[in-house]
């Protein structure tokens, strides 16, 4: 997943959250007692906090965390809502909004000086002293202010050495942004880029940072301001930033040390590396190269202009993606589908016209058809997205959280190419975030604890998506400590949900976890365990028309199974003819096909039929019989399609195999209801409907009333 893509998701999400926040706050002004609105703001803050942390906007995240605390007080009625408080919250909303907008333009949120003051105010509302919560941020600044040696009008010279962690780009930070930031605060006199650790081109990982920098800047601002630029990277001990006041080396703005080592020499030094390597380095780090060229030849004003231009182009780039109502996409998809069908019909009519007319038409109808198909394909793609992007986002999150909590966690992804409706993808993110956090916070144990229980120190979180029975399944499982059903039961008793004497089943016990405000987490971490959690998760999933279930075994792990409806999914399908009807078998389930010859067929107890596949026999399901269709009376030999139903391999008896093609599955439940053995309907080229078989459902249908499998095994 590209960082850009991650950010795009974040920005659209943030935009929505801010909208929700604003709207809810407005409502709160007129209905201060409305608890659901309070909860909405709380959740928005909560999500804002975690999403911002995920993309590395730490200051934003920290601020949202403070506000979340404030909302928590409001929620628990420790702070009452007044007009002033609402205005204050709106002010905070605006601040966050402008920070997000700045971030969208490529400025790091670090630059927002308003945050500390605002945070101070929030704390006042919370009744907290400043030192209590954020000593970490304020302390280094105050100490450094006292160490600022002088503030001469001529300005001071600072030498800055910057060495960042190699994977800094993946955390959403960009050293270049820091350079720009510095450029705004100070005159950058020189930038030396150390290319020595740059590997040969072919071994280079473009996502890694191989460069270190030494900067010389001149500024009349206090050292604290310069240090502030690095506040967020400095938190990470893998980043090494040193700022040294070197004013004493300068006389009349000239670096006396330069006498021995002029700037140009450094560049010449770098040319000692083969020219090809430099060339490659420059293509890889083009912007840094530009920065190098600009050095000293450009005034801060001109530099500002370029930064401005870049910001503008970034804003334009961001605006060039639009959010479209999925209803509109649906309508468009339906209309385009119908258009291609009409085009096909017209082509058929044209084909019957006399030769002189068709000659005149030439290849025009064909190209029209081709365009139609392309439009259809594009429209289709507008709606469907593989879940991979979402999954990878969690890989990142898990890694960071694991590090934070000193745990070792590996996230294993499966079924990333399962395509989901855009709508579903957008809404599945929140619940998945929560569940995965849950796995990390409460599921996976610390390495020592894991070793003691005989597990590998590295915990594993499995993220899997697949399609089955006409539904999309997303499974999240961890091999952690599992859910302590007894602790949940105790909590339920404490909350008065059940009586001391009640002994509900584990399944019933896990359901308590979906009750708002129910949490067994012992401490409030910055990640989860506040009781905003599983109830929100369940809510979100139910809104998508899905369900969620928890399975857990103490000491072994927990599995969350999310089942979502298949609103719109594209599959590769094999068209088969059975009697006069045509069905689509998902190609994914098809193993092979064969002629259904007498020699391959065996009967068990005169009833159940099995068909040979290689060395073994598998149950044979005659589609005509199970679906109640009259078989075709033809001389053609019946065929068998071997499919895998997850549980076992089945042979499906059909009359003919026609074609394979990509089809859009539409669910039949929307206007009708679920039909056993049928995953949905697909629209055929002639505009009619073909039913898509649900192999898993067929299996169930067949074995639900037939005991042949017991005889086979």
């Amino acid at each position: 997943m590209e960082q850009d893509e991650l950010l795009q998701i974040y920005f659209s999400e943030a935009e929505e959250l801010l909208q929700t926040m604003e709207h809810s706050l407005m409502t709160l002004e007129s209905e201060p007692q409305n608890e659901s609105v309070i909860n909405e703001v709380f959740r928005a803050m909560h999500t804002m906090k975690s999403s911002s942390a995920m993309v590395g906007f730490t200051q934003l995240s920290e601020h949202a965390h403070l506000l979340e605390n404030l909302m928590e007080r409001i929620r628990s009625k420790q702070v009452s809502i007044t007009q002033n408080l609402v205005s204050f919250l709106l002010e905070n909303h605006d601040l966050i909004k402008s920070a997000v907008e700045n971030a969208a333009q490529g400025k790091p949120d670090v630059g927002l000086d308003a945050f500390p003051a605002m945070a101070e105010k929030v704390r006042r509302f919370l009744g907290l002293a400043a030192e209590q919560e954020e000593g970490r941020v304020t302390a280094p600044i105050t100490t450094s202010i006292s160490s600022v040696p002088k503030k001469s009008s001529k300005g001071s010279y600072y030498e800055i050495n910057m060495r960042f962690r190699k994977d800094i780009f993946q955390i959403g930070q960009d050293p270049l942004m820091l350079l720009y930031e510095l450029g705004d605060l100070a005159e950058i006199i020189s930038v030396e880029t150390d290319l020595s650790s740059l590997p040969p081109f072919l071994e280079m990982d473009p996502y890694q940072l191989y460069l270190t920098w030494r900067l010389l800047i001149k500024t009349d601002r206090p050292l604290a301001t310069i240090e502030k630029v690095f506040v967020f990277v400095q938190e990470d001990e893998l980043n090494q930033i040193s700022i040294r006041d070197v004013s004493s080396h300068f006389r009349d703005g000239v670096d006396t040390r330069m006498a021995n080592k002029p700037l140009g020499e450094i560049l010449i030094d770098q040319k000692l590396v083969s020219e090809q390597e430099i060339q490659e380095a420059l293509t890889q780090q083009k912007r840094v190269g530009e920065a190098l060229l600009e050095k000293g030849k450009i005034s801060p004003d001109e530099l500002d202009k370029i930064v401005d231009l870049q910001e503008k182009s970034r804003t334009v780039l961001r605006k060039s993606t639009v959010r479209v109502d999925t209803d509109k996409l649906d309508q468009l998809a339906n209309m385009v589908e119908e258009m291609t069908i009409q085009l096909a019909r017209i082509s058929a009519i044209l084909g019957d016209l006399p030769p002189d007319v068709t000659r005149k038409l030439g290849s025009e109808p064909d190209s029209l058809n081709r365009i139609g198909r392309e439009v259809q394909e594009q429209v289709m793609r507008l709606r469907m997205f593989p879940i991979e992007g979402t999954f990878q986002r969690f890989q990142r999150m898990a890694r960071d959280l694991a590090r934070e909590q000193h745990k070792q966690i590996k996230v294993v992804l499966g079924g990333g190419d399962t395509e989901l409706d855009k709508d579903v993808i957008e809404h599945i993110n929140d619940p998945l975030t929560h569940i995965i956090r849950n796995c990390i916070d409460h599921g996976i144990e610390a390495p020592d604890e894991r070793k003691q229980s005989g597990k590998s120190p590295e915990g594993i979180i499995n993220l899997n998506a697949y399609q089955q029975e006409g539904k999309i399944y997303i499974e999240i499982s961890d091999d952690g400590r599992g859910i302590d059903a007894e602790a949940v039961r105790q909590k339920a008793i404490e909350r008065g949900l059940i009586k001391e004497s009640d002994q509900p089943s584990p399944e019933e016990i896990y359901k308590f976890l979906f009750i708002p405000g129910f949490s067994t987490a012992k401490k409030v971490s910055s990640i989860s365990g506040r009781g905003v959690g599983m109830d929100v998760v369940q809510n979100n999933i139910q809104q998508l028309g899905g369900t969620i279930a928890i399975f857990s075994e103490k000491g072994k792990g927990t599995t969350f199974v999310i089942k979502l409806p298949l609103t719109l999914a594209v599959i590769d399908g094999m068209y088969v003819g059975v009697g006069a009807d045509i069905f689509v078998i998902p190609l994914l389930t098809v193993l092979s096909t064969a002629a259904l010859k007498e020699g391959n067929l065996k009967t068990i107890e005169g009833k159940g039929e099995v068909v040979r596949l290689g060395d073994s026999y598998v149950p044979l399901i005659h589609l005509d019989r199970i679906l109640g269709i009259e078989r075709r009376q033809t001389d053609t030999e019946p065929l068998v399609v071997f499919v895998s139903s997850e549980k076992r391999i089945l042979g499906l008896g059909v009359d003919e195999i026609l074609d394979h093609q990509q089809v859009v599955i539409k669910n039949l439940e929307k206007n009708f209801r679920k039909i056993s053995g049928i995953a949905g309907g697909a629209i055929m080229p002639d505009g009619s409907v073909a039913l898509v078989l649900d192999v898993y459902g067929l299996d169930h249908l067949f074995f639900g009333r037939n005991r042949v499998h017991e005889l086979v095994h």
Partner: protein
């Protein structure tokens, strides 16, 4: 206040449905049969990318089945958010009924199911049976359709 109805025939009987319940009227088209459902569900059709079921009310009213022909018409209706089609022999026309013309459902022999009948209208010699669509195809009905359950 007058209300408008669309009337149609099933054999010799004339039925009426409120016009505002009908989204669209389309010609007969090939259905895709659906396995494991009651006979009243004739199959699924596609209309501009929307797939919906077609019901034959003849079977609901215990009338003998009839071959569909070029006069067969499908009323596309929306009931409780679901799009459905009702296939009828022919449309008759659109009529306006004044409240005086609408009579309460007469008592019929117990063997005739009257819960789908909203009222009966009389216009001259014509007797029009006004249907309660919501009742005919409500969710309970749909569940009942599941022959495999």
């Amino acid at each position: 206040m007058e209300e408008q109805y669309i009337t149609f025939y099933l054999d010799d009987e004339e039925y009426g449905i409120e016009i505002n319940k009908i989204r669209e009227i389309i010609g007969y088209r090939r259905f895709t049969r659906v396995p494991g459902v009651k006979d009243i569900v004739k199959g699924m059709v596609n209309l501009r990318g929307v797939i919906f079921p077609i019901f034959d009310l003849r079977l609901k009213f215990n009338l003998p089945p009839k071959e569909y022909n070029k006069f067969s018409v499908i009323f596309v209706v929306e009931i409780a958010g679901r799009v459905m089609g009702i296939i009828v022999d022919t449309t008759s026309d659109v009529i306006s009924l004044s409240p005086e013309e609408i009579l309460p459902t007469p008592r019929l022999s117990p063997s005739i199911r009257t819960e789908y009948i909203k009222a009966v209208a009389q216009q001259g010699d014509r007797l029009i049976i006004l249907l309660d669509l919501e009742r005919i195809l409500d969710e309970k009905e749909l569940e009942e359709l599941d022959a495999t359950a």
